[in-house]
């Protein structure tokens, strides 16, 4: 039983950065903007988050630094892709390369340092409940924050008028513009939210997961977050399922190796990616109830004034 609990705890921790980054990208993409720079924003969040926490000794300050760094990066993207109507794919890729380089530069002085990671919650009695106690009440705050975040995003997108307007921008920016909505301003805000989330997700790695900074430590998690948004067919509920499924497969394949299950580890490492491909195929075959992707995703919009 303890092992099951340990596995669930590991899965939660492994899924959290993916969930946070993907939540941000989901909002960005629902507004019609494809920002492929998640990896770059994440690694900047990791570098600045660690720097902030190391300099001040506060995890909260670190998390805020990560959020600010991710947001600033996304503003660069917004300026190029929305302000100057540059191709979004190219801009996003450039943002990733910029982020990887810049984070290495910022983080260079902090390589080899370590901090005390974010504390795990402890609520007397509740945390001590067997099996579920540590899972529900004993993880670090980021884990619960990520769940609150995705619930909040779901509520915003589907239960509020601004959420409806944001989705309208993503599905048909010309109509939204004709109705008088400030498409570019809304999209800029969505991009900034995506950047803030990516920055926080990146900061989670050095603040809670592995409490040190190493260049390139996001190791492709930004790309996985992007894939998760597609996997979830741009829906918050499925995103949660996808993120935890991805985390679970990642962790379980490690445990399976330790148990000596006779499946080649290379195959098990590839499983989460295989699952994404299969879902993509299923999605494209079962096009019931309209297209799944925001119709205006990735297209440039220049309002005629």
């Amino acid at each position: 039983m303890e092992l099951v609990e340990a596995i669930i705890l590991s899965v939660l921790a492994a899924s959290t950065p993916l969930l946070i980054a993907a939540t941000g990208e989901l909002v960005t993409e629902r507004s019609g903007v494809l920002n492929l720079g998640v990896e770059g924003m994440m690694i900047m969040g990791a570098a600045c988050g660690f720097a902030g926490a190391w300099l001040t000794g506060s995890i909260v300050v670190g998390a805020i630094c990560g959020i600010v760094a991710g947001t600033l990066m996304s503003l660069v993207f917004a300026l190029m892709a929305l302000g100057l109507a540059v191709n979004q794919v190219a801009t996003g890729l450039a943002l990733t390369i910029l982020g990887i380089g810049l984070s290495g530069l910022i983080g260079a002085g902090f390589v080899g340092e370590r901090i005390t990671p974010a504390p795990h919650l402890y609520i007397p009695v509740l945390t001590d409940i067997p099996l579920v106690g540590r899972v529900l009440f004993g993880e670090d705050a980021f884990v619960y924050l990520s769940i609150a975040l995705i619930v909040g995003v779901w509520w915003f997108l589907y239960q509020t008028r601004p959420g409806l307007i944001l989705r309208a921008c993503g599905d048909n920016h010309v109509s939204a513009h004709a109705l008088g909505y400030p498409v570019l301003r809304i999209r800029t805000l969505a991009v900034m939210f995506g950047g803030a989330c990516a920055g926080l997700a990146g900061a989670y790695l050095p603040l809670a997961y592995t409490p040190f900074f190493i260049p390139g430590m996001t190791a492709g998690r930004g790309w996985i977050a992007l894939a998760l948004v597609v996997f979830a067919s741009w829906r918050p509920g499925r995103l949660v399922v996808g993120a935890y499924l991805f985390g679970a497969v990642t962790i379980l394949q490690l445990h399976a190796q330790g148990w000596g299950v006779g499946i080649p580890s290379q195959f098990m490492s590839a499983l989460p990616y295989l699952a994404t491909v299969i879902v993509l195929v299923l999605l494209s075959r079962a096009r019931t109830g309209g297209s799944t992707a925001p119709a205006a995703l990735g297209t440039v919009f220049v309002p005629d004034r």
Binding site: L3, A6, I7, S10, A14, P17, L34, L36, E39, V89, G92, L93, T96, I97, I100, G101, G104, G107, A108, V111, G112, R114, P117, L205, Y209, T210, P211, F212, I214, P215, G216, M217, A219, G220, R221, W223, L226, A227, V230, T250, I251, L254, H255, Q257, G258, W259, G260, G262, P264, S265, Q266, S269, L280, S284, A293, G298
Partner: protein
């Protein structure tokens, strides 16, 4: 959508940065690195070697490095880029650069290449590597002494001979202390992903391992061991900072002397293609101080290190028994020969697992 996926793919391929110093007619020496120089492990140690080289011969040479160069077709471009920039001696520092290096070497016969940990050579392409299995043997002795559960946790990168021989050396040593020692092996299928390495270490600890060994590059596993109150060995570089109460020792790659010797040869015009495989005796690597262990274990480790250095103790002393219970052919007299170790693709008896894909 197709655009998205295409973009994803290109994005993964890009990611490299260039750094160069400047000077006119100094000898230009280039380095290709797999990871970032700040990885605190494999690439970091190579870069320490480069820095030692600059310190020693800085007035005669100029060094350039490319970091974050993925193994595969991209590597070929990166190596060629160094050639075009005028580098006359180029070190490619990862196994996966073997074929790209060979290809570029054939194209530019006047440039000299040095490839780390590979086995393909040419008249202008040398190889160099270390006998890390000697260090792993010492670690195996310590691990068996220090483990209370009798279960060791081993994080592998990829099931290539270098890693497999390390696992075997560890277990052969551990069995001399505790014949029933168990090892759980988890392959991370990456050299560098701190998060995944930490996950693997957590999984091993959760499954009962109390001494963690790794053949991946970041200090993540060390840090998890420290957090969980277990013991661990560092990899490539000094990692005691990440586990002051956890690190037993670490195999430290010390490339500096080799790089200096090879560049001096190049400067003298005596460089020729060679195959260098050095061990403790030739200082290709060193052991970090033995810490967090009682004096008798420390003494045992030091004695073993001295015996290996003096050539009195060979980790793969015959008979070596494979998993099938059969003795492995003893080609090196009283121990396995270099070829058998360099191409090792079997587990020894006592490892209750299979090499993936076999």
């Amino acid at each position: 959508m197709r655009k998205t996926l295409l973009a994803l793919a290109t994005g993964l391929l890009l990611a490299g940065s260039v750094s160069a110093a400047s000077a006119a007619d100094k000898l230009k020496v280039g380095f290709i690195y797999l990871g970032p120089i700040g990885d605190l492990g494999w690439t970091y140690q190579h870069d320490q070697g480069r820095l030692a080289l600059e310190k020693e011969l800085g007035d005669k040479i100029e060094t350039t490095y490319l970091e974050n160069v993925p193994e595969g077709p991209d590597a070929e471009r990166a190596i060629e880029q160094l050639v075009r920039a005028g580098n006359k001696l180029i070190f490619t520092t990862s196994f996966g650069y073997m074929d790209p290096t060979l290809k570029v070497a054939k194209k530019y016969p006047n440039v000299h290449f040095e490839h780390a940990t590979g086995y393909k050579r040419d008249k202008n392409m040398s190889t160099y590597s270390s006998k890390w299995y000697q260090g792993r043997y010492i670690q195996g002795l310590i691990a068996a002494k220090m483990s209370k559960t009798g279960v060791l946790g081993y994080i592998g990168s990829f099931p290539i001979p270098e890693v497999v021989s390390g696992i075997n050396a560890t277990i052969l040593a551990a069995q001399t202390i505790n014949p029933n020692i168990k090892v759980k092996i988890i392959w991370a299928n990456t050299w560098f992903d701190p998060g995944k390495e930490a996950d693997a270490a957590k999984a091993l600890v959760d499954q009962g391992a109390d001494v963690i060994m790794q053949h991946t590059d970041s200090p993540a596993a060390m840090q998890i061991a420290a957090e969980r109150g277990k013991l661990a060995f560092g990899q490539d570089s000094e990692m005691i900072k990440f586990g002051p109460k956890a690190q037993l020792t670490s195999i430290l790659d010390t490339w500096g002397p080799y790089y200096i010797a090879r560049v001096k040869a190049e400067l003298d015009g005596t460089w020729k293609s060679e195959d260098t495989w050095g061990g403790l005796d030739s200082h290709m690597f060193a052991m970090a101080p033995y810490t967090n262990m009682p004096d008798d274990v420390k003494k045992m480790a030091e004695d073993a290190q001295a015996a290996i250095t003096a050539g009195k103790l060979h980790p793969f002393k015959c008979p070596v028994v494979g998993q099938d219970g059969k003795e492995v052919e003893c080609k090196g007299g009283d121990h396995l020969d270099d070829g058998q170790i360099l191409g090792m693709n079997f587990y020894v008896k006592g490892i209750d697992d299979k090499i993936p894909g076999k």
